[in-house]
Subunit: 232 residues, 3 copies
């Protein structure tokens, strides 16, 4: 079903059982897989690929128990040229994916996230709302990027990374502060970051480390709790 108000460019391949809702705009040379759903107002550039079973432009919902309600006035989902989106993705309204971004299968990205050019958001990766991701960032498979994070350019995040933004674990009205990963920092697989920590430029967090306080630039930390690596 392609809504009559949707605009579809030239040389666009559309699979079986696709749903394209009203006011969607699709550029040229785009490939849409089978069973894809594109919600109203989504804007897709040229040369984009979207694999099967992916949902683009989802509106958030909430229940009475959530600490923070999603914002009501979200801009459309913008997908720039040459983005490649895996299968079974869930990408919300209010997201911007810049040129050359790639997402793995089963990735999900919530509202008000931006991802810079050529950034990779891996298989099963989860990116929560209001997080800003720079250019040439790699977020590997199964990583959890919490809300309100800042991830600068050239950051590398290994698989199964975990982060949190809530010091008081669900008590309610306190301000949530996600970690900040400065330019070129690298995070090993299955590392955990506590709320509000800052990882300095080109710093390295070892695999499985539990980072409870800021890490200075170019320093390598390991262990639980994470401490600067020593020579012995």
């Amino acid at each position: 079903m392609i809504h009559s108000t949707a605009k579809v460019g030239k040389n666009v391949i559309i699979g079986e059982h696709v749903v394209i809702e009203k006011d969607v705009v699709i550029g040229n040379d785009v490939a849409i897989g089978h069973h894809v759903v594109i919600k109203e107002g989504t804007i897709i550039g040229d040369g984009v690929s979207v694999a099967d079973f992916t949902l683009l432009g989802k509106f958030p919902f909430t229940n009475n128990n959530m600490a923070r309600k999603p914002s009501k006035n979200l801009s459309p989902l913008f997908i720039y040229n040459d983005v490649k989106i895996g299968s079974h993705n869930v990408i919300y309204r209010g997201v911007t994916l810049s040129e050359g971004v790639l997402t793995g299968d089963l990735a999900s990205i919530r509202e008000n996230v931006t991802a810079g050019k050529n950034t990779i958001i891996g298989r099963n990766a989860m990116v929560e709302n209001n997080t800003q991701i720079g250019e040439n960032v790699t977020i590997q498979t199964g990583s959890y990027v919490t809300a309100d994070m800042v991830i600068e350019d050239d950051v590398f995040i290994g698989p199964c990374f975990s982060s949190s933004n809530d010091k008081y674990m669900g008590k309610g009205n306190e301000q949530l502060k996600g970690p900040v990963l400065k330019k070129g920092s690298k995070i090993g697989n299955n590392a955990s970051l506590l709320p509000d920590v800052v990882i300095g430029e080109k710093a390295i967090v070892g695999a499985g480390a539990v980072v409870t306080k800021d890490v200075e630039e170019k320093i390598t930390v390991v262990g639980s709790p994470a401490r600067p690596m020593t020579k012995d």
Copy 2:
């Protein structure tokens, strides 16, 4: 496809390419997204939302190698009023979701699980069979809740939590015992719980902690293995 024996209430919105099998009952004021599959016998209350690509009422299957076979006689999937279910969920037959429950996208919940009122089961969260979850519980994104757990009311589980129920790792006939999380306990992100541990009322498990034995009420534990937090 809506089977002729299914009963659908008033003011129900049903998306494209939806499959509703025999003997399904859907209440009033329900919104069913595109590509949703509702298996036979599922019962859905009033005011429920189900997002796209979600599978409700799945029957379990097994192979020769599984330690324990799924039970054959499962009650239907019951979804009470005002439940909100994310996209790409897999929720099995034999599950009960109480009023006001919310599930994130890509969540999965196996047979014989109950979730109490207003509980949140986060994005990509996995809940195994025979686990009982109380009211006002929050299970955050990417958490793994093993089989045979008991999670009491008001528990908060941070993202990427991991649990296990099998001391002997797949050897076979031993009894499986999931952890017990007592009322109001809080678990930090990426913490690991071993089989059969009990986390006391209002106890706190720090991020990344590996909990190998019981934690008493109101105590905070951190580290690997987890130990009570000291002042220095």
Copy 3:
């Protein structure tokens, strides 16, 4: 939609909104759920079950930033007799699933992976490309199996396992080396393995351990970094 060149055996059940592309071969006594997509050339044996929303035979794609490009000439996806595949799976071209394999819901398996007889690949498990998995292996829920791993027969991997294959975290041209899990080794939940470590036969890695170097056969290691377990 079943392509005219597809061959479908006897006693095959096919759900609603299924897409079967060209040159697919399906054996006898097969059950295909609703909304399943089977890409061109996929070969499915007798007695196979495929649950809803699953994508079989996906071709990989890439972006400019990926360290290693997927191989161009992939053999078809081969699914042998009596395999059971969960819902919302993504299984790539170039994969071989031997007789009796079971995959959980939301599992994904990339190109050039083989899984031996009766192996279980759990719910939400992620298996990267070029990994060889033996017979009677259990990979539990939410585990991340990196590329280029070797997992021998009878290995047990607990839930939320994490592994990595890239010592230099995305720098580029170095050789990637996944861990090796020898026959009968057991890995606890949420353990992390660094690149290139070898876990010996019947060795045991404790829950939450961070394994930075090889583990000898029959030894048990725990902690971060992992060390042999002592008696006290």
